[in-house]
């Protein structure tokens, strides 16, 4: 036993020695040397030279040995320049820090409607929300570029939507005057083009069989500058990269977006694979979600906005569409704002089930809202009567928002309990996780940072596909009949035979008569 154990031990020892030697022989990826050879040479040098107090100078000896390797071994290859993504981004962000060239415009620069993002960032940080101070500064500079290049009349940071591959920073802006017409014209042109395409298809020789399916009537898009299309949105992936303008949203996109749950990828031209099919690509989906989030979570202290004055008395039935800043607004105490939801109001119009903010009569086809029963949750209770749909008016207090799935829609609190006299009131949406609002004195701001998804409670159950369309009209010639029984067959056969016999008799008599005639 002992001998075998001893053998095994020596075996193990040998093997570990071998592996350690292999480790020493491993050559460095930088210099191509290995420790084994290096120590061998070093010891040879020590043996040859036999210096005094060799242990004190061993480091220098080692360096000398190493230097000997490097003589006349300079690489003749040129370095291959490789640009990393980091360097590319730095190059692009460099433009953010460039100073304006002509100093004559300084007066104009002051008037640029740029939000004070650093101040917003300061208050948001107290609320526990933020993108990081440096990132905020970069976004600030990027917004400045956007406002300068597009000459926007008003612009604010709307928030950030996280995606699986990259994120979107979203800026909200007012439409420029004159921009509305341009867009409408281009849309009309596109529609005409579609019509032409259809015509050219009709002219073809062999027409394909036509589907009898008639899509439900399409609800008209809201005009630029009103309802869900009140603002224009610009997105960019990283501050410094170009801003992309999002297309206006259509009601169908909003109604479908309510029924699906998808992550954003971070590329605007990604197709959305979903059921029910989403009309458009990720840019449209992003715009639809932005519209829904804005309608649900853009709130302000009560009294900050007042109803627009241009509304006449005769139009009482029309819900208010616009509100304007109240010049006499007096700030509400912060403690009160954190306490009660009735001190906050919505200042963005509610989106109806139809997908529009103002109801449009689709009286031509009355059955239009069949698929809208699926929808559950908008922030208000749905009106019982089918039409006209009426949303809550603008500037409705949040205390009237309905509870959904036993979850109160908002949580409010003070940002600090220790120094509550200088705290800000923070409001958090529970339906749209990631939507925050703060108010302090006469200042307030809404921001959304999140995945762009609504809270759905127990889980998303995707819509069930519709029943398949019937292939052919059902009629007697193709419906399946019961096979006849034996008795029935025999009876039929007998009847046929009798008939035949009768005919034959008839023929016989006829022939006989004929013969008689001849």
């Amino acid at each position: 036993m002992d001998i075998t154990d001893g053998n095994q031990n020596t075996d193990l020892r040998l093997r570990s020695a071998e592996s350690f030697k292999a480790f020493l022989l491993k050559s460095s990826s930088k210099s191509g040397l290995n420790l084994y050879d290096h120590i061998t040479r070093l010891l040879i040098k020590v043996m040859n030279e036999q210096p005094q107090n060799v242990v004190d100078v061993i480091e220098d000896l080692s360096r000398d040995v190493k230097q000997e390797y490097y003589e006349d071994k300079q690489s003749t290859l040129r370095e291959l320049p490789q640009t990393t993504a980091e360097e590319l981004l730095a190059e692009q962000q460099r433009a953010l820090f460039s100073h304006p060239e002509d100093s004559e415009h300084e007066d104009e620069l002051v008037e640029i409607p740029l939000p004070n993002v650093s101040e917003i960032g300061f208050y948001l940080e107290q609320a526990g929300v933020g993108l990081g101070r440096e990132e905020m500064q970069r976004i600030f500079l990027a917004l400045k570029k956007l406002v300068e290049s597009q000459a926007l009349p008003r612009c604010r940071l709307w928030g950030k939507i996280l995606g699986t591959e990259s994120n979107y920073i979203v800026a909200e802006a007012d439409y420029r005057e004159g921009e509305e017409e341009d867009e409408q014209i281009t849309e009309e042109v596109a529609e005409e083009r579609d019509a032409e395409m259809e015509k050219s298809q009709e002219n073809e020789m062999d027409p394909l069989p036509q589907s009898t399916y008639k899509p439900p009537p399409v609800v008209q898009k809201e005009a630029i500058g009103t309802g869900a299309n009140k603002f224009v949105y610009y997105v960019c992936k990283e501050p410094g990269l170009p801003w992309v303008k999002l297309p206006p949203v259509s009601p169908v996109q909003i109604t479908v977006a309510r029924q699906i749950r998808k992550f954003f990828t971070g590329k605007l031209d990604t197709p959305i694979n979903s059921y029910p099919p989403f009309p458009g690509n990720e840019a449209n989906y992003l715009r639809a979600q932005i519209a829904r989030i804005s309608a649900g979570t853009q709130v302000s202290p009560q009294g900050f906005f007042q109803a627009g004055e241009e509304e006449g008395d005769e139009e009482d039935e029309v819900p208010r569409e616009n509100c304007e800043m109240n010049p006499d607004f007096e700030s509400i105490p912060v403690a009160e704002m954190a306490e009660s939801l009735s001190t906050w109001v919505h200042h963005v119009q509610h989106i109806l089930q139809q997908g529009r903010c103002t109801w449009i009569n689709m009286a031509v086809k009355p059955g239009e809202d069949s698929n809208e029963d699926v929808e559950d949750e908008e922030r208000e209770e749905e009106p019982d009567e089918p039409e006209p749909e009426v949303g809550p008016p603008l500037l409705t207090p949040l205390s009237q928002d309905a509870e959904i799935l036993n979850t109160p829609p908002w949580s409010s609190k003070l940002s600090s309990t220790l120094t509550s006299q200088h705290a800000v009131a923070v409001l958090r949406s529970n339906l749209w996780p990631g939507a925050y609002t703060y108010a302090f004195g006469k200042k307030f701001e809404n921001i959304y940072v999140g995945w762009g998804l609504k809270y759905t409670g127990d889980g998303h159950s995707p819509a069930v596909p519709l029943a398949p369309q019937k292939e052919y009209p059902s009629g007697p010639e193709i419906t399946e009949a019961l096979d006849p029984t034996l008795e029935e067959e025999q009876a039929l056969q007998e009847a046929l035979e009798e008939q035949q016999a009768a005919q034959e008799e008839m023929e016989d008599t006829d022939e006989g008569e004929e013969e008689d005639d001849d």
């Binding site: 980091e86 526990g128 990081g132 996280l162 699986t164 529970n430 996780p433 940072v449 409670g457 127990d458």
Partner: protein, 276 residues
């Protein structure tokens, strides 16, 4: 994330939209030191925050000698007074998964109740109402445990398994290189491995037993349940879990800095298969 590096690592995960106010940070810097001393922890981590309807729970995690097994979780409302969470047992996990699905309330003594009808005998007439009662405190313990089990992340090489079986911080970890940090293969689950034994010998051959004793994120099902990006001027590698929305991991390439933080509503994203 380690309490010592909290002041700058919060900035690195802030891309997800959540951060802590200065008041909370300073409070944490004071209270976590005291916590470490009182509970005799080797290391204290700020784990994250679970958002409740009324109050938010701040969670801290103390680590003992074995980084993986000696874990204790604590919660607090004001970042100052910490309460120990009970360890999550099988029966607790079972009860919590039945009883509570809605949002956290923010009250640890709140009791979730779940009624279930069980039919006995051949005739379905005998109905027995079985009620499961769970307090929010144990739900919190289970949720923190589940998040740690399912989505806690470390870069490959940051922890080593010593010959005695202890899991320790690897002091010679120099960080992943930039190209390594761009691949999800180099990030590991920091929990007891479940898939490792199923690997074939071919796959195991390339692994180093001291470093690769954990499951790889790549093997997660469904594929694509992680979002890997470079943020902060493309200098920090950020991983976000799509299964537990709110978990953010950061690693600065070429440095040993890494950590994760969860700030979210504590609800697992069960809709993930529909959303990819």
């Amino acid at each position: 994330m380690d309490s010592n590096s909290l002041f700058y690592s919060l900035e690195l995960v802030a891309g997800s939209g959540h951060t802590l106010s200065v008041e909370q940070r300073t409070a944490l810097q004071t209270s976590l030191v005291i916590l470490k001393k009182n509970y005799k922890f080797h290391r204290v981590l700020f784990w994250g925050k679970i958002l409740g309807l009324k109050e938010d729970y701040f969670i801290a995690q103390g680590r003992g000698e074995d980084e993986m097994k000696d874990k204790k979780n604590l919660y607090s409302f004001n970042c100052m007074d910490w309460f120990l969470l009970p360890p999550a047992t099988e029966s607790m996990i079972d009860q919590v998964s039945k009883a509570s699905k809605k949002r956290f309330k923010g009250d640890p003594s709140y009791v979730y109740e779940h009624l279930e009808i069980r039919r006995q005998g051949d005739e379905a007439e005998e109905e027995i109402w079985v009620s499961t009662k769970v307090s929010e405190e144990s739900r919190l313990a289970v949720t923190v445990h589940q998040i740690d089990e399912e989505v806690s992340v470390v870069p490959r090489g940051a922890f080593i398994k010593s010959p005695h079986g202890l899991v320790e911080v690897n002091r010679s970890f120099g960080g992943l290189s930039r190209s390594e940090a761009g691949k999800i293969d180099n990030f590991l689950h920091f929990c007891e491995p479940k898939n490792l034994k199923k690997k074939s010998i071919m796959e195991m051959a390339e692994l180093n037993p001291a470093l690769d004793f954990l499951d790889v994120l790549r093997d997660d099902i469904p594929k694509g349940s992680w979002s890997l990006q470079f943020e902060c001027a493309s200098q920090v590698c950020v991983l976000r879990s799509l299964l537990w929305l709110g978990l953010t991991f950061y690693h600065v390439p070429m440095t040993p800095q890494h950590g994760y933080m969860y700030i979210g509503d504590g609800i697992k994203n069960l809709d993930l298969p529909f959303m990819l």
